[in-house]
Subunit: 132 residues, 2 copies
DNA sequence: CTGCATCCTTACCGATACTG
DNA sequence: CAGTATCGGTAAGGATGCAG
């Protein structure tokens, strides 16, 4: 498998782009990563998940959950009670996705120091040649 | 490592967010993934890379390469000739990043059929209850 | 050839108000 | 509690023109 398979076959048209790219965007999206990570441990209710993640608006959490549910990563179970109670948990496919994304997140976390060092070098080199 | 470490410690302020999240966004960005994938095989010149990836504007490719260079993933070598010749290749850190992202991309690719099936189910269930 | 600068459109996302 | 609907600020990103 090469690069060409990952890109949309039609560069000029403004089409949806390749399917795998869409899935990748869903699971690596800002809140998608955090939702998958949280649900790795256990199931959550909506507000509970919102509090756990922190900093996510209702709108974005609902949107993220819907996308992940539609992709088959998250199962949603709404109980017809008052007040409403809705639980979310990972499907088998979702657990796989979460593990993959989590692996990438862990690698990223480990390498942050190296990246920050590289940035410092890069910025220092720029400082010397531009203004001075 | 839990979810809280991945999120910004200050949900209310509009600060840069946690460092690992930024790195994650760089390597999983639309063009970042493709650049890393392309450079896994060999080094490329700018326009050569542009043609190989396909569908990327000059602006976005330059921007992506700068970000990846600053993060220490890509090395840039500009030769002072006319016409200019600039080559890009992966650093050791970049090769690691590329492998990680590539693993995720491969998993995604493999699971696309399952996701599409899930979407079909989801959409079919919605069709029946909304309009009809 | 390899960029950088500018304009301009789009689409994301947060805030707010409202529903069942 | 668990969402939906709408508005608006902002930033991503494509197109174009110009420079080294």
């Amino acid at each position: 498998m090469g690069v060409r398979e990952v890109v949309n076959g039609k560069p000029d048209v403004n089409e949806p782009m390749c399917p795998s790219r869409l899935v990748l965007e869903h699971v690596t999206s800002r809140w998608g990563v955090l939702v998958l990570a949280a649900l790795m441990e256990r199931s959550y209710r909506f507000s509970e998940l919102r509090r756990t993640i922190g900093g996510v608006s209702e709108k974005m959490l609902a949107q993220t959950l819907q996308t992940l549910e539609r992709d088959g990563f998250v199962h949603r179970e709404a109980q017809p009670v008052i007040p409403p109670r809705v639980d979310y948990w990972l499907t088998g496919l979702g657990k796989e996705a979460a593990e993959q994304v989590w692996a990438l997140a862990r690698w990223t976390e480990r390498r942050v120091p190296a990246v920050q060092a590289a940035r410092a070098d890069y910025d220092r080199a720029r400082e010397g040649t531009v203004t001075n």
